[in-house]
């Protein structure tokens, strides 16, 4: 039986010249008790589809049947069988965990006698039991997301619609969210439809729908989708001596669709089932060995043929920086909020031209550390030197040397792209010729010319990110701070973004970055892994992965390393207290 049947569904927003088609006649059938992932770039129509299925939007044309009811006509009758979790779940931050659950239970008219058992079950499942009396606003990002899911599940729905439930959540909480969802499918035969930016999540589903500009580009089970690319993927030997320049050179070779640095190797996806022909100068890195394909390859390949190659690297980035004096020095850094130590005894240094990654679970103290480095938050004690300037005494001077891209791509929404650039150019004190040159550079380099008159607020997310990067680079800073710069951005835009960052690092700009994407951690020269306000591991990605290598886990991924190191640390600190 099909839980969801969608037939030639269309939806558009706006009128006249402003009209934008979000969905262009898509058809879908999802079996009851199956898990389906919708993937696709920003603005592909993922959220619109989920909202239509939840009965929140009215379709322009086409039919929707959910659990044998016509939507949106019979949406009311279905309310108690659908659990819809929007991207930003509406928790009441001034209510406690328990009060939130109580509220949602009342909204679904669950009788008081049943509540206690249901709450216990959900709180055990989400491991939120110890936080019953805590205000929802005081929970970490991962915990909020789990509570949101618990509230969505409160009425035991038969269909779960999850809109990017795991965005901005660290790998550990993400894994917990997934086990809750899978448990629902296994034990209660719930049908799940979710949108996600993580390919490894989509890979775990029964069915994957690739959406692009309101059309279904492909659908099927993950293995089916990856099948046509069998024999297209290769790994090139140990490239750790010059990863970035090598990646850039290989990506310019004919028929290469995609290149990703993975550990010490370079993963290459070809347009044909043949290995790339390496030029003479790359001969020293051995021959590319075939590897199994995965869903992401299919995704990138389909989009590649659809939108064409992204043309990022105009010049080849240089590699590993020399051993100059460090540009960022952090020593014995502490930050207290009242009694709570958000950062304790943090020490590390960053060298010129390095890409330096700061990883950690939600609430591990990486944002606090990051904000102190940018001069947005004073430290409680310790040494903080950025570009040779002591941040405790000369914050203003240090600022001229740094650029900052915040998580939300903070731009002035009502101002046009051009006006945003002009403003930040002036803010950084650029004038005359240099100012004009830099604005022209930004429009050109970030390919923003066609959007220059558009309001920053209405740009597609990928372009917002470019504009934010351009604004932060106006004054050609020595150090660039990137706070979760790829959160919510699709894989292609993410690759493009990293290619830019690589090029910048190659030119000698030091980049400090926080991220939740573990594969992105592989792009970093040096990593710091934080948990509970402390640094628990630092080194190159290879070194960090080596720390968790065991006979039963001979080739750990960055995600494996992250999860096992943090769990180990949390275990130790729990025992200590």
């Amino acid at each position: 039986m099909n839980a969801i049947v969608v037939d030639h569904l269309s939806k558009s927003f706006g009128k006249g010249a402003e009209r934008r088609d979000a969905l262009k006649g898509i058809s879908l059938q999802l079996a009851a008790g199956s898990m389906t992932a919708i993937i696709g770039p920003d603005g592909a129509g993922k959220t619109t589809l989920l909202r239509l299925l939840a009965g929140i939007l009215t379709p322009l044309a086409g039919d929707i049947r959910v659990l044998d009811h016509a939507i949106p006509q019979e949406a009311l009758a279905l309310q108690n069988q659908i659990g819809y979790m929007p991207q930003r779940f509406g928790l009441y931050e001034d209510l406690t965990v328990e009060e939130n659950l109580d509220l949602f239970a009342s909204l679904h008219s669950i009788p008081g006698t049943m509540r206690e058992d249901r709450f216990d079950e959900l709180l055990t499942m989400t491991a939120l039991g110890p936080f019953r009396k805590r205000l929802a606003g005081k929970l970490s990002g991962g915990m909020k997301q789990k509570l949101g899911l618990a509230c969505t599940l409160i009425h035991s729905p038969q269909l779960l619609l999850l809109d990017e439930a795991s965005v901005g959540v660290d790998p550990i909480s993400r894994r917990e969210l997934w086990s809750i969802i899978q448990q629902q499918v296994a034990s209660r035969n719930v049908t799940v439809l979710l949108s996600t930016a993580y390919m490894n999540e989509a890979e775990r589903c029964d069915h994957v729908v690739l959406l692009q500009e309101g059309e279904i580009l492909a659908q099927g089970n993950p293995a089916q989708l990856a099948a046509p690319l069998q024999g297209h993927a290769f790994v090139l030997g140990d490239i750790s001596t010059a990863p970035r320049s090598l990646q850039a050179s290989v990506s310019q070779l004919p028929d290469v669709i995609d290149t990703v640095i993975q550990g010490d190797g370079l993963r290459i996806v070809m347009d044909k089932p043949e290995p790339p022909v390496l030029p003479e100068k790359l001969a020293g890195y051995g021959t590319p060995k075939p590897v199994p394909t995965r869903l992401e390859d299919a995704f990138v390949s389909l989009l590649f043929h659809r939108v064409g190659r992204h043309s990022i690297t105009h010049r080849l980035p240089r590699d590993t920086p020399g051993d100059d004096a460090p540009v960022v020095v952090v020593k014995d850094l502490y930050r207290y909020f009242g009694q709570f130590a958000a950062a304790k005894n943090v020490s590390f240094s960053v060298h010129k031209g390095e890409i330096f990654g700061l990883l950690g679970a939600n609430g591990a103290g990486k944002s606090t550390t990051f904000r102190m480095l940018c001069g947005l938050l004073p430290s409680s004690s310790g040494t903080l030197r950025v570009a040779g300037v002591d941040l405790r005494t000369a914050t203003a001077e240090a600022r001229a040397h740094i650029g900052y891209v915040s998580q939300k791509f903070a731009l002035y929404g009502p101002l046009s792209v051009q006006q945003n650039l002009s403003f930040f150019a002036s803010a950084y004190g650029l004038e005359g010729r240099r100012r004009n040159d830099r604005i022209a550079w930004a429009l050109d380099e970030m390919e923003l010319k066609q959007y220059s008159g558009m309001n920053a607020g209405s740009l597609p997310l990928g372009y917002k990110q470019r504009l934010a990067l351009a604004c932060a680079l106006m004054h050609e800073p020595e150090i660039l701070f990137l706070d979760e710069p790829t959160s919510g951005v699709d894989p292609l835009a993410r690759r493009e973004f990293w290619a830019r960052v690589n090029a910048l690092a190659g030119d000698g700009t030091t980049c400090l970055v926080t991220t939740h994407f573990m594969e992105e951690a592989e792009y970093c020269d040096h990593l710091v892994l934080m948990s509970l306000g402390e640094i628990l591991a630092q080194g190159t990605p290879t070194e960090i992965k080596a720390r968790v290598r065991r006979p039963e886990l001979p080739n750990p991924s960055m995600e494996d390393a992250f999860i096992s190191l943090i769990e180990e640390h949390e275990e130790v600190s729990r025992r200590a207290s």
């Binding site: 947005l376 938050l377 929404g413 009502p414 930040f424 803010a427």
Partner: protein
């Protein structure tokens, strides 16, 4: 210094663009002031017109009918109907169908003809004390003219002392002349508080505030960049309302423009300073809005806009001394009605400058301490 000015200029331009390009904030700048101008200009008036009343006339004579005709014929009162017993008269007041009831005794005409003093009972609805008081005044003056006419007709000598009143500055005592210039002050207060009081909170919510703080722009420059747009918008808005007051509501402008615009500057210094104080305390726009209204409502009540400050208890009168609108209303009304000049307004300018200076300093202190 030059780079400082450039940065402040860039901030100002950015702020103005953000205000004018965003349809929502554009609407806030144009819509409410226009609506309020019309609402206040037409609806808020102290004059009484068409007050409904009933009469219980127990007298059969000619004079009582003449007496009633004087009321019914005046623009102030409208005779709703004539009742025939005491109960109906009470009922009309009770159910609020009339504001005033007139009870004329059976001997009205005969007493008058015999030259004997007579009484007319006037019952007013005290639930609306303000209007009742005004109506009494109007009624009193109608009775006075009626008496004079009677005396003249009977050939008796007129009373020896006659009061002849003349209102200076506003000869017809048109309340529009009093209210509309005041609205200019209220609207300038509203607009300058809204533009400055919410702007920092808006940036905090959008995340652009952090982005500003990592640039070489320092807190003072940010404050200046927020203050200048407040001034510009306030002056534009004020000028618009002044023009509307003169050409739409036909209130004469008798004072000097210099005096008025110096008043604008001093007043905006104070309100922008207070707006920035709210701004540096508010974390969200909602808090900012709450702060703006927490300040605005008492500021209007204590300004003397509708009720004279002289009538307030002493302690409240003292509190009005810190209300910038109090001083600005004097400047506005002075400029329109009294022919006021810059020299005449000095007693108003300096308190505004003091309030402005103090609030600016406090705002910048608060702002810096918030930034840690």
């Amino acid at each position: 210094m030059r780079s400082r000015i450039r940065r402040v200029l860039a901030l100002t331009i950015k702020e103005l663009l953000a205000l004018l390009r965003d349809p929502a904030s554009r609407a806030v700048l144009i819509g409410p002031p226009l609506i309020q101008l019309l609402v206040f200009g037409y609806a808020a008036t102290f004059e009484l017109k068409h007050v409904p009343f009933v009469v219980y006339n127990q007298d059969q004579g000619q004079l009582s009918r003449e007496f009633i005709a004087r009321f019914a014929g005046s623009p102030t009162f409208d005779l709703l109907h004539v009742v025939h017993d005491q109960h109906a008269l009470e009922q009309a007041i009770d159910d609020k169908s009339v504001l005033m009831a007139m009870d004329i005794g059976p001997t009205f005409t005969s007493d008058m003809e015999r030259g004997k003093p007579t009484h007319v009972q006037l019952i007013l609805d005290g639930r609306d004390s303000n209007t009742a008081g005004l109506a009494t005044g109007y009624a009193q003056s109608i009775v006075t003219t009626f008496n004079e006419a009677q005396i003249a007709a009977s050939g008796a000598s007129p009373p020896s002392t006659v009061l002849i009143d003349r209102a200076w500055f506003n000869p017809n005592l048109d309340s529009k002349w009093f209210i509309v210039p005041g609205i200019c002050g209220i609207l300038m207060l509203l607009v300058s508080l809204l533009t400055t009081g919410l702007s920092v909170a808006r940036e905090r919510e959008m995340g652009t505030f952090d982005q500003l703080l990592v640039t070489p722009i320092n807190p003072t420059e940010i404050l200046l960049g927020k203050a200048i747009p407040g001034f510009l918008v306030g002056i534009l808005e004020g000028s618009f309302i002044v023009l509307a007051t003169i050409f739409w509501f036909h209130v004469p402008f008798t004072g000097s423009l210099l005096g008025l615009y110096l008043g604008f500057l001093c007043f905006l210094l104070a309100t922008v300073g207070i707006g920035l104080m709210i701004s540096s305390l508010a974390v969200t726009q909602q808090q900012g809005l709450l702060g703006v209204f927490l300040f605005m409502v008492p500021a209007i009540v204590l300004s003397g806009f509708s009720t004279p400050i002289a009538n307030m208890p002493k302690i409240v009168q003292d509190i009005t001394l810190v209300d910038p609108l109090r001083y600005f209303l004097i400047i506005l009304r002075g400029s329109f009605l009294e022919g006021g000049s810059a020299a005449m307004f000095w007693p108003q300018y300096w308190p505004l400058i003091v309030i402005g200076a103090i609030s600016m300093v406090v705002a910048s202190k608060l702002f810096r301490s918030r930034l840690g």
